[in-house]
Symmetry: C2
Subunit: 615 residues, 2 copies
């Protein structure tokens, strides 16, 4: 056993020979980026190690990611580097390798909604036993419940957990009990006294990168608290495919991912309760949306075959599951409602987007683009809706971009390039010194490079004499921020390779909206509204997005950024049975356009790899 010290945290860990630095770091709670899930391909888990003899020599995959100088300085990839066990080791985790607190796009659009929750509470007065007619405890309660509803109740389910509580509860407050019901047919709880006003529900969006939840009174409908958290499954891969492959290994790995998300949900729930000063004991419904992989892992479904074509969901849903089945810190019989998915890669989150933007209610045609690691496109109106999934990849999250990073402190998020001087102005998240560039910064950069005429429609640099354009052994690159060799800070640049990655990602989305428009025999001019959903979208400069072709060429006043529309849709399904049953119907009726099998896919995708001509 040797000691590993992580700096600048000063965190110490005991480790055995042949354990990787990534694994040791994760074990002691040091969050190191790992977009590829530990395969040595993404190059994001850079660390500086000393002494070098305390770890195995660099692997071939590491040699690709580092210069000779960097290797000399002890730079390594955490996932590839195993401790030898010969001596203790000091490890410096640089800021760019950390998963830090990032901006969470929490609020989606707010929709007024007529409150019609599935959960309601009634106050009953259960009489004591009449010795002449000693009716069982549960039957006396149920009789009062039926009287209260004047016979308008069908068959009633009283779960065993509730049966166990009834005898005590009806004897505490002189028989006065609050009975909480789900859909007027299942008793969720029986508590002594009058607590009808304390009745809450939570809407939750489980994103690949983050979890966001909001707490609501089910009596007033009011939003009482909002909280967000990184999805801790990121340790096992930043994108869906890495996690699917991790989960597919065996049921234990699947359980690892399930437990990670369940623990986070419990943490979110406790934060919400604390913020709103309420008890989780009175939160009786949790409405969940997310892509099919995220909701599947949350429910512990077998997601294995979602990783192979034709990418079928294990189950469509909607699901109604008791809280105790998922080990949530809610009352054991609280209902967890997971909205249905539309197809394997068009999940409950896309359905929630539709609910929130009301595409299914409008006469005019709208286009919805939810930009994320996995992006969805939905087109149509109340007569017909078509959805497709676009494998844009994590480029918008900063992955596969040399100096890319998420929208965390120090990330460049806005870029302007002066047409003549080519002077670069950058804005960073939290106005901190720049350490990398996030998705909206990359989109801005490429749009600006096109605008000032520095790149061709194919995304290649034109010949130019500016010193901003450098050419080294890795090819051509544009310098956004000069390096400071004395501080060992490299320059932040955009390479042709980076531009190419961005164009691949935007081509995926562009292909999506082009083909759904074709499918409806419509053109961009037919679009009444274009909704951009997703956290990334919020920071996007619409002019830059349009310049690249990431969104169709429509006037700016038709473009609406709706932020986390998935959470907004979950909230509607929480507060209104009407919306919830609409969602269930929509999941079955929305047409799924399978781009992978579309005869025009290749042609459209290839043409989308270019920058549009206009501008």
């Amino acid at each position: 056993m040797v000691t590993v010290i992580f700096e600048p945290d000063g965190r110490r860990a005991k480790a055995q020979a042949r354990e990787s630095l990534l694994s040791i770091a994760q074990r002691v709670g040091i969050s190191v980026r790992s977009e590829c899930g530990g395969k040595g391909t993404c190059g994001k888990c850079r660390l500086q190690v000393s002494p070098k003899s305390a770890v195995i020599p660099p692997t071939p995959s590491e040699q690709k990611h580092f210069t000779r100088e960097e290797v000399q300085m002890g730079y390594r990839l955490a996932c590839q580097t195993l401790v030898t066990g010969n001596s203790d080791v000091q490890v410096v985790v640089p800021p760019e390798s950390r998963i830090t607190k990032r901006r969470l796009q929490i609020e989606g659009i707010a929709n007024p909604v007529a409150l019609r929750p599935t959960v309601h509470s009634v106050l009953l007065s259960v009489p004591p036993v009449d010795p002449a007619h000693p009716v069982a405890d549960d039957e006396r309660l149920i009789e009062e419940l039926r009287k209260h509803h004047r016979g308008k109740m069908g068959s009633l389910t009283v779960p065993l957990f509730i049966q166990r509580k009834i005898p005590e509860m009806i004897r505490i407050a002189l028989g006065q009990v609050t009975v909480t019901l789900w859909n007027k047919r299942t008793i969720l709880d029986v508590t002594a006294g009058d607590s009808r006003d304390d009745l809450y529900g939570v809407a939750l969006d489980i994103g690949t990168s983050k979890l966001v939840a909001s707490l609501h009174s089910l009596v007033t409908g009011r939003s009482l608290a909002v909280a967000g958290l990184e999805n801790p499954q990121i340790r096992h891969g930043e994108d869906i495919m890495s996690r699917l492959s991790f989960a597919a290994a065996d049921p234990a790995s699947r359980a690892v991912l399930q437990n990670l998300v369940v623990d986070s949900v419990n943490l979110l729930l406790s934060r919400l309760a604390k913020e709103a000063s309420i008890s989780l004991e009175r939160v009786y419904e949790l409405v969940v949306v997310g892509n099919t992989v995220m909701t599947g892992l949350f429910l512990g479904l077998n997601t294995k075959y979602l990783g192979y074509g034709p990418f079928t969901a294990p189950a469509r849903g909607p699901f109604d599951v008791s809280s105790h089945t998922l080990n949530l810190s809610l009352p054991p019989q609280a209902n967890v409602h997971v909205l249905p998915c539309i197809a394997g890669y068009v999940g409950a989150d896309a359905l929630a987007d539709i609910l929130a933007t009301r595409l299914h209610r409008r006469r005019r045609i709208s286009l919805l683009i939810d930009i994320g690691t996995n992006s969805e496109v939905v087109l149509g109106n109340r007569d017909k809706l078509t959805a497709c999934s676009c494998a844009a990849g994590p480029a918008f999250e900063g992955a596969q971009i040399e100096h890319g990073m998420k929208a965390v402190t120090g990330a460049i998020e806005r870029v302007t390039i002066q047409p003549d001087s080519l002077e670069v102005k950058v804005e960073t998240v939290d106005n901190q010194p720049p350490i990398g560039i996030c998705g909206s910064g990359v989109v801005d950069t490429v749009a600006q490079l096109a605008e000032v005429g520095l790149i061709t429609p194919q995304g290649r640099f034109k010949e130019h004499s500016t010193p901003k354009l450098v050419h080294d052994q890795r090819g051509k690159r544009f310098v956004l921020v000069e390096g400071k060799p004395e501080k060992n800070q490299p320059a932040i640049t955009i390479s042709e390779q980076d531009i190419s990655q961005l164009l691949l990602a935007k081509a995926a989305i562009q292909t999506g909206y082009k083909l759904v428009l074709d499918h409806h025999q419509l053109s961009p001019t037919d679009l009444d509204k274009v909704y951009i959903a997703g956290a990334f979208g919020t920071y996007l400069n619409p002019a830059s997005a349009r310049r690249l072709g990431l969104i169709p060429p429509v006037p700016s006043n038709r473009v609406t950024f709706v932020g986390n529309a998935a959470l907004a849709g979950a909230r509607l399904a929480l507060l209104s049975r009407t919306h919830r049953s609409q969602a269930a119907r929509l999941a079955k009726t929305i047409h799924f356009l399978d781009l992978a099998r579309h005869p025009e896919f290749n042609r459209t995708y290839t043409s989308s790899l270019f920058l549009p001509k206009e501008g």
Copy 2:
């Protein structure tokens, strides 16, 4: 820490100062009788201890149970005797203090039944995903299921446990799966390949003293195995009231009793599966009967208020609970059906008795007496049934009788006394040397004593010169088996006190059948059939029972011993939905006669304390 050695077993245990010998014995698996649950009142946990200094001095309650000689010889009550911790101690556990393997009355009457189980299996062929229409895994399965039932299916529940299995199961045997359904509306399991013929169910009677279960094929209806086991809750009191008081202390104590019975059920299940060479993985239903306390503890219900008047059940039932909720070793979604109770002390076992004896189907009047620690009496026909509960106490189980014991090896179960010589002939269980007398032996003895004119109708010994009748400081007693002082074997006797205990118990039952007959305005001559149910009943000599008034004066050919009718009724409810729904209806329609509140109770009970005049 000192060492305690239990002889003749030779079992050693480490113990701390102030632990009781009863607790130490239970800890190491030495089963010591404890009818009163460790209160020092029943006097059954007799042990011989040496050296006496290794334990605390005899308590006042022990001094009542032992003669001075016995105290001198180191006799103690295990529950009262705490080790001092000063020295090791040797403890001899005499045979009469042991809970040994007892006779289990396993089989009830067999009824032919038209097989209509709630569980059935179908074989489906689930097609692979059509890439042109990538339907979710569960929906492809459900579609085939609906096709198979030609649309004659309502809404369907697919529990999460099953959802988690579907993707793998439909891909193993080229899509061929066996789907097991409950009531055509809940999927209990999905397994690969054709296993339709392997479909089983278990009927279970949880008695206060014993558990008995039978395994059945749900395809042929055949009985495949039967097994029985002592109820291990006996450690916490032999009668219902002791256990209720133990359970009422806190939820943890209730959990102790629940876990004991659940562990025993799992043991029974594994024995059944082994005997029939089947897998428990294919046992999809367990139908349970028992008195309200036993079924309540099994389900983990709050039985606290069953211990106080007016003795209301926490819930009536029927209950349908998933196996995993109770930690049973069946498939997680296997259904556990607990038949409803009729009233607080007329449980699902009495209802099952009715199903088995068909009282509710007959035109003519029948009387059913289920004799146990808690006895039930049911009277009537298809037009009206009345049930009552008789607190007969555990006298028929040998408790409260000085030399009483259960019907285990060495118990006297048959007694004849020659009219003139007063010579006594005894028969024992397993024909072993007599060590005590069980319930049927006590009934025989008292009936024979009445027959030969040795006792008055009040149960008092008449003056007689026979040496069999002795008179010591504890009063008069009749010697059944002479003692052997050289072997330290005391005589086995029946005292006036014992006769009085028996008459109290029989008076409870006699009061029951008299008052239900009165309620129906009927007399014994109106009875077409008298059914005697319960293990005790089976060993009962009907002539002796009639002589005492334990059963009404009807000709022998109208008396039928039906043994464990409760199990037979559970089996009917397992094999036939018709019987199960009849049971649910009966539970609500049977009239419950509350003897404790009956205006004639005291008068009838007092008059029943005598032996009937006839004979």
